[in-house]
Point group: C2
Chain length 355, copies 2
């Protein structure tokens, strides 16, 4: 018997749920986890029997490869509850595909579809009470994989742990977001791991972001590391620029993550007659457009915040404030995407999957 | 009372040592650890009381930041035993300084000198039986720090664990090393984290290295990511090129690790009248020198292997074999460095520190 049927996950339930102790109205992002987690280990060349079990810490050896060589990848996804109490995933196939692309780039084993998808569905099914109704309420889903093999020789691990943990989340509002355009620090190298959701890509941004925060900016828009002339992404979000009535966003590449929100917004915009150009945008173009008034909007797109309007940017110590406009593309696209995710509008793209 | 005296480390010893079960003659690198480990946690803005305790696994939450965002750094050092059974460290101040530079770049707290150094000395003192006499025998030392705070929001942790673990090692011989010059993949970005001993820098190299292995090459010499024309480092080693009787090695930079072995070899070479030029070497220069016979040696320099002679390199699918030469600079420098480390020669530089 293989691992092809969903019945083969061992399930150990908590004796009593902690759900009643959670204040769902006042929950901060990524800090509260549900009762259970999904775990599947890889060793001796094979994925082992998957388990759903109580969410709890686990033991690792001090020499575990994840601590020393950073073999670790993740995904970010959400589940939504509609008016009929049905729970929906949004394009989970896209996250699974990207997870396995990340795995390959980090020399980690790919997770078979049946393990990824049946783990996801059965875990969320068990935790469906944790998905709350109402626009903005979601269950944030974090699939991740770490190298758990021991030994401090710099080589890929032979043992891995794939896990899924779940965290209830409110609508993510980060306040007014001002950004700095990167002039010195960089997120990714040509031929590097920028396109992978590898753990190390994120910690690499913490120090430059801290410096930006100290100057009063919340995020950085990264540029290409060789010339710092091309706008790339914001580290946890892809970025869109509206110049007059055209939306621009950088093409995905080895340096830029292939964001699910990014490509979904492009599809919605194109369907609804907004002109979208997927091409590199130069910093100089952005500055010029800000100066001549043709720059109407800049916004980030990612799973956590969905769409994050940016109110201004700094480049070479000059701050450019964006206009407040009617008929914001950012807000229109966010509404349309949310309507699909919460099943308030027809899902003409076939993106939603019932749990 | 502060943490300034070495007496303030809590020490819990194993009930019985496993040392007698270890076959020190047949030990593979980085897989056997000594009886004890050093642990010091950082939380609420302060380093806590350090501990030396039995080497053992520890518990982490599934949402620990190290798993998701790769906040993790390390160092590699060695202890040596001389003919009088004294145990010596080699330039530990250099490792501590680099560790704290890595910490800063990864937005982690710096480890105070008293914690780093007294932890190092007391742990090794306790384990001095594990350091075996004889050239090539060492105790490999792995200080490292990981983010142990919980939560899947992409921001620096507020809790960290600094640890030192020890692994007895034999002379590291990796066989004949052939390398590929990187033409597509890269190790580090301008403005990135290449100069830090950050965990994520290592796993990023595993996949390209695997591809090189499949072609019969053991390692990659990385080039600058923007043009792939400048030779940089080998990922776990800095690289030296001998053209006629001059040694060349790339300057350290944001992209290149400031190796302790690298700079020690430069000092020894300069003292002993070998001409050293610290400058970028172009791939085209290397190929030309290989063709006209002026390229005499290429070797890596790092803590694990000390000096690792390279027998040939591949570039654009052409393999260039290096000549077998008398009076190898690589072997001379290795002997001289080892003689200092094992106290067989006068340490005129003042590099060795007694435990």
């Amino acid at each position: 018997m293989g691992l092809n049927t969903t019945s083969e996950i061992d399930i150990v339930r908590v004796s009593s749920s902690k759900i009643d102790s959670i204040d769902f109205e006042n929950i901060s992002f990524g800090t509260t986890f549900t009762d259970h987690m999904f775990v599947c280990d890889f060793r001796e060349g094979n994925w082992q029997r998957p388990q759903i079990k109580p969410y709890e810490p686990f033991l690792l050896d001090p020499s575990a490869k994840v601590f020393h060589y950073g073999q670790a990848i993740f995904e970010g996804m959400k589940a939504y509850k509609d008016e009929h109490d049905d729970v929906w995933l949004f394009r989970p196939d896209q996250n699974m595909d990207r997870f396995n692309k990340s795995a390959k780039r980090m020399a980690m084993p790919e997770v078979p579809e049946d393990i990824f998808m049946s783990g996801l569905h059965q875990l969320i099914d068990l935790e469906r009470e944790w998905v709350k109704k109402g626009l903005g309420n979601t269950l944030y889903i974090r699939p991740f994989m770490i190298a758990i093999g021991s030994g401090v020789i710099a080589a890929p691990s032979t043992q891995y742990r794939f896990m899924i943990i779940l965290s209830p989340a409110k609508s993510y509002y980060s306040g007014e977001v001002k950004v700095i355009i990167a002039e010195h620090f960089s997120r990714a190298a040509n031929g590097g791991i920028g396109a992978a959701k590898a753990a190390g890509n994120y910690s690499a941004q913490f120090y430059p972001t801290k410096l930006a925060n100290e100057k009063g900016f919340q995020q950085i828009i990264w540029t290409d590391d060789a010339t710092h002339t091309k706008l790339e992404e914001a580290g946890t979000m892809n970025v869109f620029f509206r110049i007059n009535d055209t939306l621009f966003t950088a093409p995905t590449s080895e340096r830029i993550l292939d964001g699910v929100t990014r490509k979904s917004l492009i599809s919605i915009a194109e369907r609804d007659g907004i002109n979208v150009e997927v091409r590199s945008v130069l910093v100089s173009e952005l500055v010029e457009a800000a100066k001549d008034g043709s720059l109407k909007e800049v916004f980030g797109a990612g799973t956590a915040a969905v769409v994050n309007p940016i109110v201004g940017f700094s480049y070479q110590d000059v701050y450019y404030e964006l206009p407040k406009i009617e008929n914001s593309f950012a807000l229109q696209l966010k509404d349309k995407l949310n309507s699909i995710q919460y099943k308030l509008a027809d899902d003409t793209f076939g993106w939603t999957v019932k749990v």
